[in-house]
Amino acid sequence: MPVYLPDTTEEVLSLLAAHPNAMLLAGGTDVMVGINHQHGLRQETSIIALRNVSELSRYTIDDTASTISLGASVTWTALEEAPFVERVRCLAEAARTVGSRQIRNAGTIGGNIATASPAGDGVCALVALDAQLMLSSATGSRQIALTDFVTGPKRTSRADNEVITSVEVPIVKGWQSYAKIGVRNAMVISIAGVAVVLNTEHRSVSIALGSVGPVIIRATEAETALAQQIDWERCSISADDLDDGARLAATAASPITDHRSTAAYRKHAVQVLTKRLVQRGLRDLAERGPS
């Protein structure tokens, strides 16, 4: 089994063109679990390890631009420590909930997206932020909304010869946060996760729900209802309207019962987390005053 260690994205693309069945390896925190379970790899599988492709670990933020571009190999640890964390707070908060220090030092945002788990914490935050992906192959590049890229549980529209090069994350004026429920405070795959973005510029609300459906779900009805009911001047909402919005978010969830939790508990968790986050967001915005 050959292991390729390219240094540049260009080299990755030509390797993928020549070996379309090759497996990409970033932090290995998903890939290696699978390999260890199967007690190794078949001799013919080739691996393209992205470890040395330093350009994929970069992020760029242009103060005039309204997006942050995160290289696919940016790790959770890098995200937690990045100078721009305040501007993509819900993603940084999601990063902090991932696994342990060992996992956050190795695991990457690109790996989380390509794995496309409905429990992916980074994916949930990025779906709420309306992130776009950049993919490249030897024949060209394309941009696609993250929500369109993920086509099902652990399924994406990535072609065999494509690599995710970056995630483009819009910088939103307002407030954002991510909350997750699990059985302990660390090292848990979420039972339910909720990302909320309150966009004070467009007076809109985004709510993404994790672990309560085959893919990360946007609670669009709750988003519209809450955006209408929030008093954006005073950053407040009536208790009834908030409850209604949170209930609508729970309606959007279509969870299953599995070894981690029950469907009923997951729906309940979505309602509680949505309410809590919107309440917290409006309170923080009101304290911050008009910007």
Partner: protein, 159 residues
């Protein structure tokens, strides 16, 4: 290109040749089976227990989740080569933070890495930093105490 069966690794400052590794072999299995470095332990082999913790290019990771053949350009440090962990090891012994000892090497690597970044951690910081290392014997209390005591000693020595 690199064959994943025969390759070079740099471990604890020495570059060594690995021959005949299994396809897809993890760094953990190569350290233990080819190099005889048995400090890093294997239990879950899925990143949950942290007993296999090592530093790869000074970053704390689970060696069970590193494809050995992908680490050829990296510097691997295992508990055997982690000289700056002497006082952490002593504190674990003094505080009674070791029972069966299976988790100990991984915890010492993780604690040493954490203490290099933080000089005055409180117990909650320590619990969060060591959340990726499971211990089924001690109940963690004495491990936290040991880390607190190292931080205190090091601060004392620095002033």
């Amino acid at each position: 290109m690199n064959d994943d069966r025969d390759f070079m690794l740099t471990v604890n400052g020495t570059t060594v040749e690995i021959r005949g590794a299994a396809p897809g072999a993890s760094l953990l299995s190569v350290l233990r089976e080819h190099l005889g470095l048995t400090g890093a332990k294997g239990a879950c082999e899925e990143g949950e227990c942290g007993s296999c913790s090592v530093l790869v290019d000074d970053s704390l990771v689970c060696s069970c989740l590193v494809l050995a053949a992908s680490a050829v350009h990296a510097h691997v440090t295992t508990i055997e080569g982690l000289t700056q962990s002497r006082d952490v090891q002593a504190a674990f012994v003094e505080c009674g933070a070791v029972q069966c000892g299976f988790c100990t090497p991984g915890l010492i690597v993780a604690a040493t890495d954490f203490l290099a970044q933080t000089s005055d951690p409180d117990p909650d910081d320590i619990r969060e930093a060591l959340a990726g290392n499971l211990c089924r014997c001690t109940g963690y209390g004495r491990i936290i105490e040991a880390v607190v005591s190292v931080a205190r000693e090091r601060r004392g020595a620095a002033t």
